[in-house]
């Protein structure tokens, strides 16, 4: 049975376009996640600060970013910032928009994980006269990490999927590539199905890793051996 050469040509065309789009998706996810991690810690620490003004600024940050969706923020950054003279490239807009939005949720995760480190530990730290930075680095953070990582991991999967929004600000991510392919070739069902599978292939391994890590961590807490 011969494979029609033009079909092979088309398949290669589709694969090439989608691969390009998938690469952009992964790129945005990577950079946005960096923003998320940095800002989550910054805002979480601000929320736990002894000064009220600092706490207030952080709370406003979280409430506003959680109150508007990522899409709204992306459109704001893309269409309205230029009117104030700040023209960011679409990639920067996408990374910032997604990073800031998810950092609002991330900061809550970090904050609750940090607060969960028991009071006993903190008292011991003070008694042993640790300075703040070392205390944080060597005692608090390692204990908070297992509580942070599963929810942050889930947020990462969400971030990966939410990158599909950047197709609406003309970034050539996987969704945008799919849409353009359909404009050129038709074939709605086939191409959207392939796009869905691509996202699944990218997201599922992450979800699986998070689940496994979570099981390991909770097993320890329940006193079972892994």
């Amino acid at each position: 049975m011969f494979i029609d050469p033009s079909a092979v040509e088309t398949a290669r065309f589709i694969a090439g376009q989608l691969a390009h789009g998938a690469l952009v998706t992964l790129q945005i996810t990577f950079f946005a996640q960096i923003v998320v991690v940095v800002m989550s810690f910054v805002i979480a620490l601000m929320r736990l600060s002894p000064w009220r003004a600092v706490r207030w600024v952080a709370t406003v940050y979280v409430e506003i970013l959680r109150g508007i969706s990522a899409l709204v923020l992306l459109f704001y950054l893309f269409f309205i910032l230029p009117l104030f003279g700040i023209s960011l490239s679409p990639m920067t807009t996408g990374v910032l928009g997604l990073g800031l939005t998810f950092s609002a949720y991330g900061s809550e995760i970090v904050r609750s994980a940090l607060s969960n480190v028991s009071q006993g530990q903190r008292d011991a730290l003070r008694a042993l006269d640790f300075d703040s930075v070392t205390a944080f680095r060597r005692i608090v953070l390692p204990q908070a990490l297992p509580f942070m990582l599963p929810p942050m991991g889930n947020q990462l999967v969400e971030l990966l999927k939410t990158t599909s929004l950047v197709s609406l600000i003309t970034l050539t991510d996987l969704t945008f590539a799919g849409g353009q392919l359909i404009t050129t070739l038709g074939q709605q069902t086939l191409i959207w199905s392939i796009v869905l599978v691509c996202y699944f292939v990218m997201a599922w391994p992450l979800s699986w890793l998070v689940k496994r890590y979570e099981l390991r961590v909770t097993a320890w807490r329940q006193g079972n051996t892994v």
Binding site: E63, I64, R66, G67, I68, S69, L71, V72, F75, Y76, F79, I80, L83, F84, V157, K161, T162, S164, L165, S167, L168, T175, G178, G179, Q188, T189, W192, S193, V195, L196, Y199, F200, A203, W204, S207
Partner: protein
């Protein structure tokens, strides 16, 4: 770039129409999601492997793919199979199926949180399966679910801009339309953002209040 207050005020009615559609779709979508979530959670705990596997597959699929692409498939690909649903129904179903997958996990956690003793007591008292579920387990499972459900409701509300891609005339679409015709972006998008905040912040506070009250 100056903000034209008069213009902003003049577009409020049009944007408000969009907001009404948004609320409509969210309420219906949320109801569907809760139902789906419950069904899937029970399926996950079923004794029959086939049902468990099927629901796991559903959950895995809907949680690892973007809502936007799911909506595209429902809206553009289904008609090719002969099923053409009006845009609003497509939106409600899309939201319901997607969030149902997330709510299912929350339900499962809550149901598993109901103490084993309750199940054993129900069996000892010779309750049949449906009575056990309806009158013993579910009422106890629903209470800790409330804050989680609240979060998903607000989340769904904020995801509604996605529905614009399947031509549902909700708030974001309305703002985009105004911006597209008048080429003024600041006013429509700002008023839209304010309307979003005006709904999501009070709703979030409301749920926090309910949660605090129920712990008394």
């Amino acid at each position: 770039m100056n903000f034209d207050y008069a213009f902003a005020w003049s577009i409020v009615p049009e944007l408000f129409q969009g907001l009404l559609v948004t609320v409509q779709v969210v309420v219906l979508g949320f109801l569907l999601a809760v139902v789906m979530g419950l069904v899937l959670a029970i399926a996950q705990l079923s004794a029959m492997t086939v049902i468990r596997r099927a629901s796991s597959g559903y959950l895995s699929f809907f949680r690892n793919t973007p809502l936007m692409v799911q909506l595209y498939v429902l809206f553009f690909a289904l008609p090719l199979a002969g099923i053409t649903l009006p845009a609003l129904s497509t939106g409600v179903i899309g939201l319901g199926l997607y969030y149902g997958a997330y709510i299912a996990e929350a339900f499962r956690g809550a149901i598993e949180g109901v103490p084993k003793g309750q199940w054993e007591a129900a069996r000892a008292l010779d309750f049949d399966s449906s009575t056990t579920w309806q009158r013993i387990v579910l009422p106890q499972a629903l209470k800790p679910m409330l804050p989680v459900l609240g979060n998903y409701l607000i989340g769904m509300f904020k995801e509604t801009p996605l529905l614009a891609v399947i031509t549902i005339p909700e708030l974001f679409q309305a703002a985009k339309q105004i911006a597209g015709m008048t080429y003024r972006y600041n006013e429509p998008y700002t008023v839209m953002a304010l309307m979003f905040l005006a709904i999501s912040v009070p709703t979030s506070l409301l749920f926090k209040y309910i949660e605090r009250r129920s712990h008394v």
